[in-house]
């Protein structure tokens, strides 16, 4: 035994010492720098290899029979070098051809863009970080053709509306499906019961902004139906594929720490007049609703005459406010009022990431903390994230990838929109001569009785009533609260098994769960909530997703001619949302305690469960012929709990490279590909619509509601009729396009024409009330979109140390609603101007009260030359732009890089409802003028003003000669609230052009720098967002939307404003 053992040892020893030699050397690149991490392998000996180290040096034991060493590195040409007699082998690597752009398919697997027949837009992590935005969504704006990304307003953490190409549904979910690392996650933007999208409410967050942009490697937007068809009935709005960062194999630990600081300010303010004071008909009154009072400059300028005997207000800071007998003061408070409520917002964002990898593991760890204060005082947003991504290579053919992410976020939001407790409504209706400070205190009535903790606002300037009618804006920011606290955890795992070279099996599972706890509070004495308000709303949302996927690859099915890839998969997805809501609007005691022990009945309590489960079986067949023709066919069979039956979603795309991808030739066209595709995707119905239920209710009109819950409770048969035969909405789309590259890939151009039709659109179809129901959720509508997308890149200069590239995109989507099952109009929003679906018009068309016109479209004027109110409402504007585009310039010079991006939307209308309503209140800048008449003019009541008189108002000609627009006009049909004013006059041209992004960065690095500091590099950057805006809209950024993230848009009504910001960042890489 011992002898055999010794012989074996000798033999093995011999083979170790004799048949091997050690080769070593240094790997450098064309710039003279060392190449770290280059792969060194031995040709024909697949199990032997090493990586070059930090100094570019490698050492490898190779068998004597080995003849060649192979050196490879991403982005460089692979080199085979013969092994000679010397044991030293140095290699210089040269940069290879432009690497083919890699995109991900709908399942998250990488594929080459040049082989794909569909369109998608890719945004890299550099582009995301250079934008300086705190959330991923905002950083994508303007970078992809046909993708509209708009923030609802400038509030910190505000939600973002994403629309790809055009509107794909009328009442269904409008946002694209978001897939992170192959698992769908929630991008909820929920108003809930505690907040209305247009009325009393706050701007709600988009859950996708929870993800730290630092963790994102790339974002790919799948725009067409054929690209997204695999996701079946969740894919009609397109798909956002997000890939998070991973470590690299055999990479030494890299640590980087980055910190950013941003300053934000309001980017457009409503102009407010400061010439005339509170009052009506030219006379001052301290309790008047409007600012049509006396001319401030005509006052004596002395102190106000007040009555000190009797009622008065004692503010918390000691100031006494007495009833005003005569107003003498000329003091104006407009700017001071604004500065008490608005501030320069700022955020700090700190991130630490650690990445690295051994031969069998890669790791990526990051922790980040963002703390933001908005431009409105007391509005805030904080986000803390921790992420750990790991890939474990258990053997050559088993890889387990696990990605886990925990997010904590909280914030306080400020009330907005059509809301007497909202900020802008209270601030902008203030007369110029009213000071909003000293807003809180005690009211003493004429007999000396004290009423503490009262609010003082411009309509109740002594705080003499617990109802202030409109909130003092300081009360809105300081005394009210609307907080949200989010705890979110997502984990995704992927087990990849590669048993045979041609077969790959993936078992993938993930879970995304968040808990959103919201508290809305207003103390006693708030507008809308005179007796106080406390709401608690809890959302518990979770999504579970499991996929089993098998892929086969036969690149040489017919050798040299045809290659084949096949995929077969099964998916099951389960989503649950539980909501608990409790509210009281009756406090026992005037206290700041946010607890229901201080509330009295009636309480509003509700709970709900929303559960949807779906499963799909899907398959893909991909063929490629001669490396020039690529064909993909896919089909998905889906069954979901909200649909009756199963549905099949097919797609097909074909790409033909008529000129292959060699950049060496001097031909004009260096690459050309034609593509065509067809696909079907769907929109799922809302859950629980199969049957007619009972509901509780309130009967009334305006403020006279009879609530059944105040009468002991009861039911009625629901006014929404049930529908047991619901089908999904189906969108069918065809696309034709070409991708071309010219002059050695210096110019690249992508053009796509698309046309889609959506059938069986789910609508709450309005029924004739006399039929017994008011609406029915039914598959009733049809809509179409068509348009052209162009993406262009032009490398003006390109050398090793500097480059300049011009890039741009263009899209002109045309949407038309084709059928609404007999309904004239389906409103998407409520209030006096609505955004609607009307047959023959694009979705979103604005509808409201209008001026009387004759058949020719001319205004029918009254005897005095003024427009009249038409008896019925009609279409008054179209917020859809005629075209939109972006144009940018990016460049780099050695270690300096910069990027400038302009974005424009041309041709859409915008309803400036705030301006229109404030002309009635007399506070808007446009009604602060005085005109001296050069001829006799009439006002809307027919009163004649002689030439030479100076009056407050504007002169306008509606077609029958000049007329005088004065208080009478603006306070009746020429301005103001409700359907009985000519709301058509609030529509203006909402086209805009903006400087979306300016950024500049400088990286300090190099061998010398590393020697002195021990750091790999330091990156400095400065970015500006939304710095300039060119638009005709006076008072606000036309991107804001009253209803937030919604299919209805183009209207603002006391909506919180948008911002511009400067961001400075520093990143240290070890």
């Amino acid at each position: 035994m011992k002898q055999v053992f010794t012989i074996l040892l000798l033999v093995s020893g011999m083979s170790l010492s004799f048949g091997q030699r050690t080769i070593s050397g240094t790997v450098t690149n064309g710039d003279g720098q060392v190449q770290i991490g280059a792969n060194v392998t031995v040709k024909d000996f697949p199990n032997i290899g090493t990586i070059s180290d930090i100094d570019g040096k490698y050492q490898l034991s190779v068998p004597n029979e080995a003849s060649m060493l192979v050196f490879s590195y991403t982005g460089y040409e692979t080199q085979e070098v013969a092994i000679g007699s010397s044991d030293k082998l140095d290699v210089i690597m040269s940069e290879g051809r432009l690497l083919e752009e890699v995109v991900v398919t709908a399942l998250g697997f990488a594929t080459k863009k040049d082989r794909s027949g569909t369109t998608s837009s890719n945004v890299s992590s550099n582009a995301i970080k250079s934008s300086g935005e705190s959330g991923i969504l905002n950083s994508l704006a303007g970078k992809a053709s046909g993708v509209k990304i708009v923030r609802a307003n400038g509030d910190p953490g505000a939600g973002v509306n994403i629309q790809i190409r055009g509107a794909n549904t009328i009442g269904g979910s409008t946002q694209p499906l978001v897939i992170v690392d192959g698992i769908p996650i929630s991008n909820d933007n929920l108003n809930g019961s505690g907040s209305s999208s247009t009325g009393g409410g706050v701007s709600q967050q988009s859950r996708l902004n929870d993800i730290n942009p630092e963790d994102v490697e790339s974002v790919q937007i799948l725009k067409g139906a054929s690209a997204a068809a695999l996701w079946g009935s969740r894919a009609a709005n397109g798909v956002l594929m997000i890939t998070t960062k991973q470590g690299k194999l055999n990479q030494k630990m890299k640590i980087s720490f980055s910190t950013s600081y941003s300053m934000d300010e309001i980017n457009r303010k409503h102009p407010i007049q400061t010439a005339f004071g509170q009052g009506a008909a030219g006379k001052y009154s301290p309790t008047s609703l409007n600012s049509w009072g006396d001319k401030i400059a005509d006052r004596s300028g002395a102190a106000d005459e007040v009555t000190t005997t009797g009622a008065y207000f004692l503010a918390d800071n000691g100031t006494k406010i007495y009833p005003i007998k005569t107003k003498n003061s000329r003091e104006i408070f407009t700017d001071a009022n604004f500065d008490q409520v608005f501030q320069t917002g700022h955020f700090t964002d700190n991130n630490l990431t650690i990445t690295g990898g051994s031969g069998k593991n890669t790791n990526y760890f990051s922790v980040g903390y963002l703390n933001q204060d908005g431009i409105i005082k007391n509005s805030s947003y904080r986000r803390a994230t921790v992420r750990f991504n790991n890939q474990s290579f258990f053997s050559n053919n088993i890889v387990l990838t696990t990605k886990a992410n925990y997010i904590y976020s909280d914030g306080n939001r400020i009330q907005q929109n059509s809301n007497t407790a909202g900020l802008y409504l209270g601030l902008l209706r203030n007369p110029a001569d009213y000071d909003i400070s000293t807003y809180k205190g005690t009211y003493f009535n004429a007999t000396g009785v004290a009423f503490p903790l009262r609010q003082r606002a411009y309509r109740r300037y002594l705080g003499d009533n617990v109802n202030p009618t409109y909130n003092n804006p300081l009360w809105t920011t300081n005394e009210q609260e609307a907080t949200t606290t989010i705890n979110r955890f997502s984990v995704s795992t992927n087990l990849n098994f590669n048993p045979k070279p041609w077969l790959q099996l993936d078992l993938r599972g993930g879970m995304d769960s968040y808990l959103d706890k919201r508290v809305y509070f207003a103390p006693v004495g708030s507008a809308s909530y005179n007796n106080g308000r406390l709401d608690n709303e809890d959302f518990n949302n979770s999504e579970l997703n499991v996929d089993a996927i098998a892929r086969v690859t036969f690149p040489d099915l017919v050798k040299g001619v045809v290659g084949f890839n096949g995929t077969l998969g099964f998916n099951i997805n389960d989503r649950q949302r539980k909501i608990l809501y409790a509210a009281t609007q009756n406090f026992l005691v005037n206290s700041k305690l946010q607890n229901f022990n201080n509330g009295v009945a009636p309480y509003s309590v509700s709970n709900s469960l929303n559960h949807i489960r779906s499963n799909r079986l899907y398959g893909i067949l991909s063929f490629d012929a001669y490396d020039k023709l690529f064909l993909n066919l896919s089909g998905t069979q889906e069954a979901a709990s909200t649909i009756n039956g199963t549905y099949f979603y097919p797609s097909a795309d074909v790409a033909y490279q008529f000129i292959g991808g060699t950049a060496d030739d001097d031909k004009i066209i260096s690459f050309g590909k034609l593509r065509a595709s067809y696909g079907q995707v769907g929109v799922q119905p809302t859950a629980y619509k199969f049957g007619t239920t009972y509901e509780s209710f309130t009967y009334g009109t305006y403020d006279d509601g009879l609530d059944i819950n105040e009468f002991g409770g009861g039911f009625r048969l629901n006014d929404d009729q049930g529908n047991p035969v619901l089908k999904p909405e189906i969108k069918t789309e065809i696309e034709f396009g070409a991708d071309l590259r010219f002059l050695k890939n210096k110019i690249n151009l992508g053009v796509t024409y698309y046309k889609n039709e959506i059938k069986d659109i789910l609508l709450a179809v309005n029924l004739s009330p006399s039929s017994g129901y008011l609406s029915k959720y039914a598959n009733a509508g049809r809509m179409e979109n068509r348009g052209i997308e162009i993406d262009l890149g032009l490398k003006v200069l390109e050398t090793k140390s500097y480059g300049l590239e011009l890039y741009g995109n263009f899209n002109n989507n045309r949407n038309k609603v084709l059928d609404l099952a007999g309904a004239d109009r389906v409103p998407l929003t409520d209030q006096s101007i609505t955004s609607n679906a009307i047959v023959g018009q694009p979705l979103g068309i604005l509808f409201g009260s209008r001026a009387l016109r004759n058949d020719g479209g001319d205004l029918v004027l009254d005897a005095n030359g003024f427009p009249q109110l038409a008896p019925d409402q009609g279409v008054i504007g179209d917020p859809n732009p005629d075209w939109r585009g972006g144009l940018g310039l990016r460049g780099n010079y050695k270690n300096l890089n910069f990027n400038v991006l302009f974005e424009t939307y041309q041709g859409g209308d915008f309803a400036e409802r705030t301006r229109f309503v404030l002309t009635s209140f007399g506070t808007y800048g446009t009604v602060g003028n005085e005109v001296t008449l050069t001829k006799d003019l009439k006002n809307s009541a027919g009163k004649v003003f002689t030439a030479g008189t100076t009056v407050r108002g504007n002169i306008h000609n509606y077609g029958a000669g000049d007329v005088l627009l004065d208080e009478g006009w603006y306070t009746s049909i020429g301005g103001g609230l409700g359907g009985s004013a000519i709301n058509e006059f609030s529509i203006a041209d909402g086209s805009w052009t903006r400087l979306r992004e300016v950024s500049m960065g400088y990286t300090i690095r190099g061998a010398k720098f590393k020697k002195t500091t021990g750091l790999e590099s330091i990156e400095l950057s400065l970015a500006g967002r939304n710095l300039s805006l060119w638009t005709d809209i006076l008072g606000i950024d036309p991107e804001v939307n009253q209803s937030g993230v919604d299919n209805g848009f183009g209207i603002e009504y006391f909506t919180n404003p948008s911002t511009r910001s400067w961001v400075a960042s520093l990143k240290i890489n070890l």
């Binding site: 629980y688 009972y694 305006y702 039911f715 629901n718 006399s770």
Partner: protein, 179 residues
Amino acid sequence: MKTFKYIFLTLLFFSTIGCEGLVEDINDNPNQISSDNFDAGVLLLKGIELANVSVQVGHQTRIGGMWSGQTIGISLLYKSIYEYNLSAEETDNIWQNAYQGIVKQARTMIKQTETSPKAAQYSGIVKVIEANAIGTIASLFGDVPYSQISDDAVDDPVFDGQKAVLQACRLLWMKPLLN
């Protein structure tokens, strides 16, 4: 290749069976009581009465008061209406409350309480309310739908003449009294 095709088709076949089974019954509404398995019956009565209150003394009565000089509309919406600028949206609620809030609920309640010992009393009460509400609607608007209303088979009930509707209402509330 043939094996591939058979495997694929078999899986597809099983998927159509398996698919639906996994998602059955999840769409039963856990948040509201369904009319498919519960008869509200007399619980509907309070709502019918409240809807009638809203119809008889609600927004339209306020408008009538302004136009007949009892009240004045001073500001905002009511000032516009006082000046005879009436927009169509101001009459939506009374129409909905009468037809959906009163008539549909009343007819449903009569059907659901047929077998109750108090059936005659219930049907009498709601018939009087229905007559009151539709009578008011006919008086306000003239020709209004009545003969085809609250019928699942008719989506768009035809408008009957005012006289015919008022006559039908009179019969409706007189019959219970005669019983």
